[in-house]
């Protein structure tokens, strides 16, 4: 009986502690900066075009082959009287979010820091009725960065981060 009494005391002590749960759909927890949802393309606000040049690095590195990339000549390049130094630019970009396994490899291989993982709640709450709606095109992928809704976190790779050395 003493053991059961002790168990009851444990439950009673837990009953007196403050709650640890959240009222989820109404209250969202703050996500850490490094949170990884799905990849997004970043927008170069200075020149007003995506950073992505369509170099296919991410497409080749993707373990699940969820990306399709097509590039084109940049109509805004300096040689044709534009302002951009990018000779090639992304033409079409699709990411199948239903296939993506959020491994972060596309971010690591990108030479232009043009892709980042969505670290906001908009990347997590993505339920749709039809899985075709999860294939994102270039416009859907760049909107959030274009309008400044996300503050992306691109890791510094292969080097010791001086700040975070404890």
């Amino acid at each position: 009986m003493r053991g059961i009494a002790k168990s009851m005391m444990t439950t009673l002590s837990v009953f007196l502690r403050p709650p640890v749960t959240r009222d989820y759909p109404n209250v969202h927890k703050a996500l850490p900066e490094r949170d990884r949802a799905f990849p997004l393309l970043l927008w170069d606000q200075e020149i007003d075009e995506p950073f992505c040049t369509g170099c296919h690095a991410c497409e080749r590195a993707c373990p699940v082959e969820c990306m399709t990339v097509l590039m084109k000549d940049n109509p805004n390049h300096k040689s044709v009287g534009g302002t951009s130094s990018r000779r090639k630019i992304i033409d079409k970009f699709w990411i199948d979010y239903a296939r993506c396994m959020r491994c972060n490899i596309c971010v690591e291989v990108c030479n232009f820091d043009a892709i980042a993982m969505n670290n906001t709640w908009s990347g997590h709450e993505m339920s749709v009725h039809d899985r075709k709606d999860l294939v994102m095109d270039l416009q859907q992928l760049t909107t959030q960065s274009h309008s400044g809704q996300i503050k992306e976190w691109v890791p510094v790779l292969g080097k010791a981060n001086e700040e975070s050395a404890s």
Partner: protein
Amino acid sequence: MVTESAHEFETQDLLLNVGPQHPSTHGVFRMVMQVDGEVVRDIIPYIGYLHRGAEKLCETMDYRQGIGFMDRTEYLAAMNAELSYVMAVEKLAELEVPDRAQWIRMILVELNRLASHLMFMGAFGIDVGVFGTPFIYAWREREAIIDLFEEISGDRMMYAYLRPGGLAWDVPTNFVARCREVLTAVNQGIADFDGLLTKNEIFVARTQGIGYISAADAIDFGMSGPSIRASGVPLDVRREEPYLKYNEIKWDVITETDGDVYARYLCRLGEMRESVKIVEQCLEQLQPGAIMPEKMPRMLRTPPGEVYIRTEAPRGEFGVYMVSKGGNRPYRLKVRSACLSNLQALKHMSVGQYVADAIIVLGSIDIVLSEVDR
């Protein structure tokens, strides 16, 4: 005259199908039990419902891409599974891992062991019949650990954080302080479980003497992890073949002698206390420094060769056998799963017990079906 017949009823054994979609089978495990009344006479297990060919998939991918599939092989202790994989690649490629990366890896795998054992405590409580309470308690502390992992790696379950050579990126600045917070919460959780279950007469009556396996049988079945240590065999890969920095710190191998379900519970509880100790010592050893070796190639290639690396995952020995014929991907990858070996002993442990006890025995092995089927 009516004479009383001495003839007994001839009864036929009943085949009872459990699973694959049954909560008490911890995933998609199916077993057909031959029951005589309430007593189990035979168990035929069926596995393979969660087979995804992860080993074969890894052979078509380079070394970095394979890490994500290792996460999904052992989703409750993904860091431990990743560790075996990256250590195998490192041994093939002869990479030196910097000290800081090794200490961080050790902290992460031990925290993951805590999270996995907490999951066991919760699920096992439900199997035994303490509905809900331990499960919710376990979730509370596991959430603290998973929140920490989310701050470090960015994901809650499929971390993909370890890399051949070190870590993907460094831990955040407040890592040590956050770890200590989490350890405080986990200590509280261990104390709660101790108070809730260990001495509880109902729990003890339900688990003691059930699912006995002797040390000799456990060795014959190739069991490992807490399941074999509960039978009195002090087999722990961390002690037998120290990897990372396990030989530089003080910790004990927890063994129990009873070999029953209760002993397996006690063994895991003791191991959680040891893990907390290990993490505390690692935090003191953590120094600033590099997390990847200098001069890492963009695409890692290994010379031809074959390696077998084993580490102590929460469920036992998690081994990775890797063959390379040169190039950037393994020629063959084989995962030695502790759960599969431990599961072989299920029939031995449950025949002659009641149906309800067979469920407890299955719970006490703490299987993860994705690791069994791969």
